[in-house]
Amino acid sequence: MHDAMQCLYCQFPEALTAGLLISAVCALLGVFVILKRAVFIGITLSEVAACGVAVSFLIGIPPFVGSLALVLGAVSLFARPYENQRIPRDTLMGIIFIAATALTILLVSKSGPGLMEINAVLYGDLILASSKELKILFAILTPALLLFLCVLRPTLYSFMDREGSKVLGIKTWIWESLYFLMLGVIISAASQIAGALLIFCYLVVCPAAALVASKRIWIVLIAAPLMSMLATFIGMVVSFNFDLPTNQTICMTSCILFAIISTACWIYRKVIPITHNH
């Protein structure tokens, strides 16, 4: 096993580093995706990013530029408050997901390369991460992560109680918009390397496991990235050992980790006696 881990790092250092970085950053932001009850934003923005790449091929611009432009457009729709609208936010997400997925296939059908060839470009495969892509990832994700940590407090308050925050002088529209902007930029950059499914997994599964495991927000925010990085590492080792598709193996490892943690927490709550306050 030790040899296998060393071999993994020797042969795919970029993939391992990219995986750990993307998993940590996405898991941290994913905690707020779940708390905002906007879980499908991850897969929607990933599909929009893929659509942007397809548009980029068609009109001959750099893929990241096309992907980012479309993602920021979608983010500007999701960042508005939806409490008093006629349809909830996740309905709009569903519509945009359908439109982006369908349009991607239509555009690809009209492009030069075939569907199979373009799939790898559109949807990414972590194991194929190159050093150039890793540098771009660091350049985008590291500042986004640092910025998010700096604005964590007003973002948490704005999400938790928008009106109470406004009364306290917190400019909620700034922090909410900034969060969705960061999410869009990160997904645009990461989904071409990691793929839509893996990004969605990072945004949802390990953050959900952390929320099940802890009742304290600060522990959740530390545990989610750690669990995500652990799932990535184990998933890559397993996929390397057994010659399995990397992205899907990491996803299954994350889901198994979620199941183990949920079961352990359930058993703990059943076994520990209830304390009575008299």
Binding site: L35, R37, V151, M160, D161, E163, V167, L211
Partner: protein, 225 residues
């Protein structure tokens, strides 16, 4: 006569095409204890929220001192999603944001103020509990503590005692009266129980027919009869 702390000048508020309040002219003096009374749907909560800047006004103007010193606000409904894993103490600490902003950590003095705010409402023994584990009445007390912790000049509450038992309601209202009498805090409060309110103050902001005016409670009762 006390200076005016909140001024509403010819305020009109509407939701879409539905006009809720029109021609509201109010001068609320500093140090007033002013319950907002009136039938359901008369616009009490709407005006309260407009004063706080949470609801846009169609025309007119509202002047408040909240740019310099935010009000302490207790909303009508419980608004914190039970999904959030936050403790009672963290909810109260949120009330200290105007002093802490983005980066400042909590000082010992601020932690003590938060604990004192909870203690005044009989909630200090629950401060490490998760907010979602509390009953409705206990959650309301925590939100009141959050509103009071930053020691605001103006406290605005929308039915703050609706989920409290009788004793807790009396205790909270007495505490508010103490803040008003001893520290000169201005208190605006939507409350439905005119009899209870009569023990605390002589004036009310009465809402009816899309308008609001400050009248004595005797007159409000007489008109109601």
């Amino acid at each position: 006569m006390n200076e005016t702390i909140i001024t509403c000048s010819d305020v009109c508020i509407a939701y879409g095409r539905q006009e809720v309040l029109h021609g509201i002219n109010l001068k609320i003096p500093r140090g007033a204890f002013l319950p907002f009374t009136g039938p359901n749907g008369s616009g009490k909560t709407t005006l309260l929220r407009a004063i706080l800047g949470l609801v846009p006004i169609r025309h007119g103007s509202i002047q408040t001192p909240f740019q310099k010193c935010p009000a302490g606000y207790v909303p009508q409904h419980r608004i914190i999603d039970p999904l959030y894993p936050v403790s009672v103490m963290q909810i109260v600490e949120m009330g200290l944001y105007p002093e802490r902003r983005l980066f400042r950590p909590l000082t010992r003095a601020q932690k003590q103020r938060a604990a004192d705010a909870l203690d005044q409402l009989g909630m200090v023994e629950h401060m490490q509990k998760n907010f979602r584990e509390l009953s409705g009445g206990m959650k309301q007390k925590v939100l009141i503590a959050r509103a009071l912790v930053c020691e605001p000049d103006v406290i605005i509450m929308d039915e703050p005692t609706s989920e409290l038992d009788e004793k807790s309601e009396q205790d909270v209202l007495q505490h508010l009266m103490t803040l008003n009498r001893d520290q000169g805090k201005t208190i605006l409060m939507v409350h439905h129980d005119l009899e209870l309110v009569q023990e605390l103050t002589h004036t009310t902001c009465r809402f009816r027919h899309g308008n609001a005016e400050i009248v004595t409670l005797d007159r409000a009762e007489a008109d109601h009869a």
